[in-house]
């Protein structure tokens, strides 16, 4: 049984401490430590691999010393890998939560992410149109945008479950899968039509250029190299860490979270114990959808322009991340997302120096890694063995 139960929280046998300290350890220190371990671990492994490659092929192209290039790019690659990795991780959570509870891949999730990014755009655009964008406190503005996107995407996910999945719950596994793909197409075209009618626009640009604090890059000095980091990258990482901590507390520290874990373990028994299974499933969809929405608006602020088609690639990558980490496992989604983000960033940075390859091959290599891992660990890095998969 894939476990939603052991989320980010510390194993229960680990320490005997007073409750308050215990709480801080369980819900703050341990999960943050875990993220740090994942990031540092993946970054160190990839850096070593990159330098190993540089030792094997010192000069892939005339006048290009690979090791020098890697050292120059290292901070930039790691930062861009982490910021996209957290986005993948947040989307992957939506796949993994639903899979943990229903054993079903919600392929419409990439469009829930897209809706989140479009809602974020709509809010910021509307504030900008009313002319008050500059007067907003940065923190309040970002929190408002992210929270509203979370709410809309979460409710949308609940609605989709109610309309498209619940009536099919007893049906063969492929049936809700097809229904999910249908919903996905519907959402894309619905958003496209709505934006075309209301704004006559396809490319939806966040009005970030009106906010100097959001566009002015911060120059970070790493030894001899300077890296310009967009403030939005910090916002993405900060927002992701906060929401992940909240999720961890929700799943492991509240009564509702216990209900979700119970339904994930055994629906029938959970129902016999007096748990409202349908409510718990709706709640799972809400939480997963809200994460998609938060990821969407953070991603939108970071890249600046979104379209109704923006969900597809991050959605596919996040699904990959969820499988890589072990689908159904919350920690796995985090690990998978960060790993995939960093692998991509490193491949983008290194492949470019090999004349026959180039950045176009990034996805091919990234997915080859996935295939290799799944050959040796079919249930993903942290997953437990599951007999049936979609």
């Amino acid at each position: 049984m894939a476990s939603v139960s052991r989320g980010l929280a510390a194993p229960s046998w680990s320490l005997r401490l007073p409750p308050a300290v215990r709480w801080v350890y369980d819900y703050l220190l341990y999960p943050i430590g875990q993220m740090l371990v994942f990031i540092i671990g993946a970054a160190v492994v990839l850096t070593l691999l990159a330098y190993l490659l540089a030792a094997l092929v010192p000069e892939p192209r005339p006048n290009i010393i690979l090791a020098d290039q890697i050292s120059r790019q290292l901070p930039g690659m790691i930062i861009s890998g982490i910021s996209i990795g957290f986005v993948y991780a947040m989307i992957a959570l939506g796949y993994t939560l639903v899979y943990g509870v229903l054993k079903f891949i919600n392929f419409a999730h990439s469009e829930i992410f897209m809706v989140g990014s479009v809602v974020g755009f709509e809010i910021m655009r509307r504030i900008a149109d009313s002319g008050t964008l500059q007067q907003w406190n940065p923190v309040v503005l970002i929190v408002t945008v992210v929270l509203v996107s979370m709410l809309v995407s979460g409710l949308l996910a609940v609605l989709i479950e109610r309309i498209a999945y619940r009536p099919l719950r007893g049906a063969p596994r492929l049936v809700p899968l097809i229904s999910a793909i249908g919903i996905s197409f519907f959402l894309i075209d619905f958003v496209r039509a709505t934006e075309a009618i209301t704004r006559n626009d396809f490319n939806l640009r966040y009005p970030t250029d009106q906010l100097p604090w959001l566009t002015q890059s911060v120059a970070l000095q790493f030894g001899t190299t300077t890296v310009n980091v967009k403030p939005t990258s910090f916002i993405v990482v900060g927002g992701a860490v906060l929401t992940l901590l909240a999720l961890n507390y929700f799943v492991n520290g509240t009564k509702l979270g216990r209900g979700i874990r119970a339904v994930a373990q055994d629906q029938t028994t959970a129902a016999l114990m007096g748990i409202n299974v349908n409510f718990m499933i709706s709640l799972t969809f809400f939480v997963g959808g809200a994460f998609g929405g938060a990821a969407g608006s953070l991603f939108g602020m970071n890249v600046g322009t979104v379209t109704p088609y923006v969900g597809f690639i991050p959605g596919i990558k996040a699904f990959t991340a969820a499988v890589l980490g072990g689908i159904g496992n919350i920690t796995g989604a985090l690990l998978g997302g960060l790993t995939l983000g960093l692998v991509e960033a490193f491949l983008n940075g290194v492949l470019v120096y090999f004349p026959a390859l180039g950045q176009r091959y990034t996805d091919i290599f990234a997915f080859s890694v996935l295939i290799l891992i799944l050959i040796f660990r079919p249930s993903g890095l942290l997953g437990e063995r599951v007999d049936e998969k979609v």
């Binding site: 930039g76 300077t226 967009k230 970071n302 600046g304 322009t305 983008n348 180039g358 176009r360």
Partner: protein, 418 residues
């Protein structure tokens, strides 16, 4: 009895109207007096800004120049199709277009990658295509008798850009990106070849389908710090790239082909767009002396100044209409076949259009076309049409150039060298 009569009356009336309608449409069909002209361009999606401009240009031409044909007793109908910038949709539309016997010509497309497979379908049915915007060499180099275009070619546009880049004093190294499509990769290849021939160092040549998050792609560019980035692609992708590359700290020039020629580039790239160079086969409408009236009419009809390629679309439609007139006359006032019309269009000689004088060579390329280098002056999309023209070069098409070379060196000297 009374009741029954009342109930019958509407039925009788209905039958009468139906009869009238049927007979009238029958008459029209019998005389074959309807000519339909189709267009294909992206009317929805990320590239619709330019695609809709192409549709408007064709519509305006048919309204303004269709008079002669109407006097000859023909009814001209215009059917715009949306190819969504996708080869699949373009070919599916092409199948529908060729299946309608009343459609005699199609104006399209915007994307070379869509035009090539779609024109194969037109060619099987001898349907004339005049392209207002496709610059890929393969569009005409296949030698299809039905394919013509009113604009220049990427194998001359890419090198024009490279020569200009080499002429900038502070440019020694370049980085070349493309969008992996027939158009983007093609023009980027030609840019790279000429850039190397001009002594520029090409630090990287990369294709990407990424449309949102360019972070990973930008890192190696920052590490090598090229003086100029050339992106062979379309504005909806390039605009986002430009804004992110500038934010990440890239300080050099940006340059692109005519695919980035759209006010939406400024919309998407924001302040970072100022100073960007682009080459194009279609100058801003205001550069053409004949186009003043067109700009006025277009702005009045559609509420915005003409987008790039709208004037070219107008010319394409005008060439089709003129060819139709000639073909009908040659045919004794009867409708020509598609084949006759295609042959007549290819024979177009010294057509005085908005964008210049057009004579098609044997491949359907205009014998001479202009190539422009422009620089973006403002981040305001409304100011797009005031971008400065840095240089204008007239280059003969490859076939014409061969002909000139064969005629002897004296003639070759007379043609302006780039």
């Amino acid at each position: 009895m009374l009741n029954r009569r009342v109930r019958l009356q509407p039925l009788v009336l209905f039958a009468l109207i139906l009869g009238l309608l049927l007979s009238s449409s029958f008459v029209v069909a019998q005389e074959g007096r309807v000519i339909k002209i189709a267009s294909q361009s992206p009317l929805s999606g990320g590239q619709s800004a330019v695609g809709v401009g192409i549709r408007n240009g064709v519509e305006l031409a048919i309204q303004q120049l269709g008079g002669n044909l109407r006097d000859m007793g023909f009814q001209i109908q215009y059917v715009p199709y949306d190819d969504q910038a996708s080869p699949d949709v373009g070919v599916a539309n092409a199948q529908q277009i060729v299946a309608d016997p009343e459609i005699l010509a199609v104006i399209g497309h915007y994307n070379t990658g869509v035009a090539i497979p779609s024109s194969e379908v037109y060619n099987q049915n001898q349907l004339l295509m005049v392209s207002p915007a496709n610059t890929g060499p393969a569009v005409t180099d296949r030698g299809l008798p039905i394919v013509n275009r009113v604009v220049g070619r990427d194998d001359l546009q890419g090198p024009t850009g490279a020569q200009f880049a080499a002429s900038l004093e502070d440019v020694e190294t370049v980085w070349v990106l493309h969008d992996t499509t027939a158009y983007g990769q093609g023009v980027a290849e030609f840019f790279r070849q000429e850039a190397e021939a001009q002594g520029l160092v090409v630090l990287g040549f990369e294709g990407t389908e990424e449309r949102a998050n360019f972070d990973g792609i930008i890192q190696p560019i920052l590490a090598l710090a090229p003086d100029l980035i050339y992106f062979g692609g379309i504005y909806d992708q390039v605009g986002i790239f430009i804004s992110q590359a500038r934010a990440a700290g890239y300080e050099g020039y940006f340059m692109g082909p005519d695919g980035i020629d759209s006010p939406d580039l400024a919309e998407l790239a924001g302040e970072a767009v100022v100073g960007t160079y682009y080459t194009t086969v279609a100058g801003p409408a205001s550069i053409y002396p004949n186009a003043a009236q067109f700009i006025e009419d277009y702005t009045e009809a559609y509420g915005e100044p003409p987008t790039p390629f709208a004037a070219q679309a107008y010319d394409s439609a005008a060439i089709v209409l003129a060819a139709l007139e000639r073909a009908i006359e040659a045919n004794g006032g009867e409708l020509p076949t598609r084949e006759q019309l295609a042959a007549e269009a290819r024979a177009t000689e010294n057509y005085e259009g908005l964008t210049g004088t057009i004579t098609f060579d044997d491949n359907g390329d205009p014998e001479y076309s202009n190539y422009y280098v422009l620089q973006v002056v403002s981040a305001d999309p409304a100011q797009w049409s005031s971008n400065t023209v840095i240089s204008t070069i007239q280059i003969p098409s490859p076939l014409k150039a061969q002909e000139l070379a064969a005629e002897g060196e004296a003639t070759a000297e007379a043609t302006p060298e780039s």
